[in-house]
Symmetry: C2
Subunit: 343 residues, 2 copies
């Protein structure tokens, strides 16, 4: 029999945040009594294995591994070339050119090869973004005894995920930072604020529901639980913790008034994700129809980001952030976790 | 000395909804112990006077009068003609043509002429949408002893409204149906979900804050109050009440699965407003840059609406609705009010 969700002492899940954290944050949250998460979407199999060894050596508490489970589209050289054309002027400002040989994808979906590496660890919780993996792969994960979570951004997605076997749903309000988990539609007008989404998902499904998006203080945590959430998932509030690997530029933006204006953009990866508005988001109009499919869009912009960051500019950096940065605290993750939980 | 906000027995404000309600809904909510609102933005001075006589004859309880306070832009014949060009194909389907003499605006801002009519009634509460009226006009309203409310869609707008003299702020989450109250920016990416907006506004100002947007059940009301809201403002949940004048087509859409997908659109009025997605919203891409300035956009689309509705179609109807229609009940407004308040 499965233990009662959320398995942890405190009803707080630290949101997996690829690119701004490794196992150090995961461990700190787990040790504090929350559910720490490790984002695996941008890690190689070897890196995942290493992180798992680190986590399991450091804590005996439950933890969560997060994977993307998008279907990889075929690489479209023509589309990529057109996107390089869009970015050409930016490269020129750095005396550089788009790399026509680029196209390697830094984000790979969950696979049997990755499952081979994870299996010996039998992780207590596995969460997916962008739906669920293929049935055989999902069954393999459930066979380990892992609790499977996935994000629903609409009531329709919630019903779909429950029907396909998710054990726990994360109601991802559109306030949330980072990538939208949306997978049944690519129309961002379908995305719903948490205050409206949570009660509707709680009503529509019978599995436990986690509230995510813009939650940044203990009262909000309490309020979401009152509305039927079994736990909350919080990301942004952890971004200034010493255990996060958030860059200095990103930390500066989070601590400034700029964090009051975030927007959904697809220019960093090809899929809509929320970050603090910066130059490239504004100039490419946030949601640009010319962007290559996820995850191929990231190749060129990552080079521009590196070039700009060398000069101290975040013009091309993904400054992931939810719609409430007021919970960000320069404090150990354990402290943030217990503060959020009101203990 | 002013009475304690919200002046009423119950912390529930019925959102003013121009076009789908008159004084009957206002009165029913007031009598039930909530704060009933009368939307005056589409009424003539004579109609406002008549409604005020009806309300004050029916109830001695506090009520709220709501006005738009946009600045009227100059009528732009060229822009209007271009918009008529966009709509020409639709008119042709009804064997009709855009009316080149059209351009009358059905929504006029609050003015001294309207204040002359309102003054003798000394309304207990006056709320504004799109900011606040000019200082002399605002002072005149405050001189009656009226409590002045206005909607803030961002933290910046909240600070602005408090500084300019609003007594109460309505934190309008982007879940809300109908017109966005936004007035410091016309960039919809600035708009924030209620779960993120409310705590930030409560923290930023010292006046009472009302939570609005997607609130549709008693638990959500409780949750918002826990997060610091003095009261809630609810619109959508009243749309099926017998006291509302919601059309049969609109009621049907609200009761169907279609209500799960709403979007912000400017095609009905020139300003972003949330309604159930229908043909004209989809085909004109929700936020169309060619639309005439508010309120001039409504002239042509109102004619198309009338033509389509004659044939039982809501293809051109503004089906205003927030992101949670699950609270809609075919029940008297008094019952909805008390249910929301949890009494």
């Amino acid at each position: 029999m499965k233990a009662t969700f959320p398995l942890t002492e405190l009803p707080v899940i630290q949101a997996p945040m690829a690119g701004v954290q490794g196992s150090e944050l995961t461990i700190a949250v787990c040790q504090a009594g929350g559910l720490g998460s490790l984002p695996c979407g941008m890690l190689s199999a070897a890196q995942i294995s290493e992180a798992l060894q680190t986590i399991t050596a450091a804590t005996a508490k439950p933890y969560n591994l997060n994977f993307f489970c998008h279907r990889m589209p075929a690489f479209d050289a023509q589309r990529q070339a057109r996107w390089q054309g869009v970015l050409k002027g930016y490269f020129a400002q750095f005396g550089a050119e788009p790399d026509s040989s680029a196209g390697g994808a830094s984000r790979l979906p969950f696979s049997h090869e990755i499952a081979d590496v994870v299996e010996p660890f039998a992780p207590p919780v596995v969460s997916f973004h962008f739906g669920l993996p293929a049935p055989d792969l999902l069954q393999r994960v459930k066979g380990w005894g892992a609790l499977v979570m996935s994000s629903a951004t609409t009531v329709e997605e919630a019903r779909w995920l429950e029907a396909k076997g998710a054990d726990v749903l994360i109601a991802q309000g559109l306030e949330a930072g980072g990538h939208r988990g949306m997978f049944l539609s690519d129309d961002v007008t379908t995305q719903v604020g948490l205050a409206a989404l949570l009660p509707q998902i709680v009503k529509a499904v019978s599995v436990p529901v986690v509230a995510a998006g813009g939650i940044a203080d203990p009262l909000a945590v309490k309020a979401m639980r009152l509305c039927g959430a079994s736990a909350v998932q919080v990301g942004t509030a952890y971004l200034l913790c010493p255990e996060a690997t958030t860059s200095a530029l990103h930390r500066r933006a989070l601590s400034s008034e700029r964090a009051e204006h975030t927007a959904l953009t697809n220019v960093f990866s090809g899929r809509p994700a929320r970050g603090i508005v910066n130059r490239v988001m504004r100039e490419l109009h946030y949601l640009n129809p010319q962007v290559p499919d996820f995850p191929y869009a990231s190749a060129e912009i990552s080079r521009l980001r590196a070039l700009a960051e060398q000069g101290g500019s975040d013009d091309f950096s993904p400054l992931w952030c939810g719609q409430n940065a007021h919970g960000c605290r320069e404090a150990p993750a354990a402290q943030v976790t217990r503060w959020l939980a009101g203990v």
